[in-house]
Point group: C2
Chain length 225, copies 2
């Protein structure tokens, strides 16, 4: 194990504050080593000590971080394009923000009858397959307060969890159907929803039958970045 791996271990151990002793315990490094590395990181302001002398992640991390490209957005463009080409419908990526969902990326069908969701648009979390996905894996106590306003029920969400994707027909908007699947972070937490949407005339009353597999696959491709 090299210095770098150790440094990362230190950083990890510090996320919620750590005394030297805790640092040692969590990282598994010898005291002297942990101490020396922490000091070295402190020089670069990757680590700081708070008023109680506990180690904390440093401000330098933020400087580097906001120069980092958004991996999810970067990865989304080709994946959404492929999904659109495969299904022939407009494809979108949604993030939850407060009590709505934000369309942060989209690949739109070029011509003919189609559903358009502009990037940046805020849609309700109360309706649509994307909304179902964003709520399905939330802790129940966080969902009950929203459910009364929703076009779907706890039962719907249980079903979404079971099969791993959601669909809706004329739920958010008349004439529109959609299929969505979760995008997860490395920890398995659902962080976004990918989906397609289009006219009921093409997608039918059970849009999942034809497109669920492709949508779920897109969800997988965007997961764990």
């Amino acid at each position: 194990m090299g210095v770098l791996d150790k440094a990362v271990a230190i950083l990890e151990a510090t996320v919620e504050g750590a005394s030297l002793a805790e640092l040692v315990e969590r990282s598994g490094l010898p005291r002297a080593t942990a101490h020396r590395l922490a000091q070295a990181l402190e020089v670069h302001r990757l680590l700081i000590r708070d008023a109680q002398g506990r180690w904390r992640p440093g401000p330098r991390l933020a400087e580097f971080a906001n120069a980092a490209p958004d991996v999810l957005l970067t990865a989304a463009a080709p994946v959404l394009a492929a999904l659109r080409d495969q299904t022939g419908e407009s494809a979108q990526l949604y993030l939850r923000r407060a009590d709505e969902r934000l369309c942060v990326a989209a690949a739109e069908r070029a011509s003919g009858l189609r559903d358009t969701v502009p990037v940046g648009a805020a849609l309700p979390i109360s309706a649509g397959s994307g909304a179902q996905v964003l709520l399905a894996w939330e802790p129940p106590e966080a969902v009950v307060t929203l459910l009364p306003r929703c076009r779907f029920t706890a039962r719907t969400l249980a079903e979404v969890r079971r099969r791993g994707w959601a669909s809706s027909v004329a739920e958010r908007e008349p004439g529109v159907a959609s299929v969505s699947a979760p995008v997860r972070d490395r920890g398995g937490r659902v962080i976004a929803a990918v989906g397609i949407s289009g006219p009921i005339e093409r997608l039918g009353r059970r849009p999942g039958d034809r497109h669920a597999i492709a949508v779920v696959r897109a969800g997988h491709r965007l997961s764990g970045l």
Copy 2:
């Protein structure tokens, strides 16, 4: 120079994307070394390669960064308290957000006649010494569009720059006077404004005469974190 210093050099060289050659040039490290370290950082997702194979800061940095405490806010509490005790007036810290200024920290005089600005309050950037400070060092072209709406002029701002602090009397609110000074980041850029505010009866028509030195010192203590 240890591995860690080299790793930071690599990270620095990567902020706006870099091929291996650029990495070598900017960091001054031998090609083999730069390459090996970049790979090591990639394992930890502190570095990633974009579609063109160029190195970019990785998503792991963001994970660490949002666990980092806000150093400015942390440092502000004691500094504002000291400033309040020294001047006998309420002290505040403002950040600019869009076309307003946000009070992100405050230390209020406990009793008697005083001015209160609650933490979280959004104040106009068009009036008050804090507003003057936040605009004074902005590029001129970014300020001209705002000046027509402001209670102060380009001349005022030039004066603020010259002496290093701002004052206002009954500008933002009748009966209230204030003195503010800039807070700078390590690069010298003005990122916030510290100040005190109170009744004109106590602060007088030239509040800077008595309090500018203390306020400027508070600004220095919060700078370069």
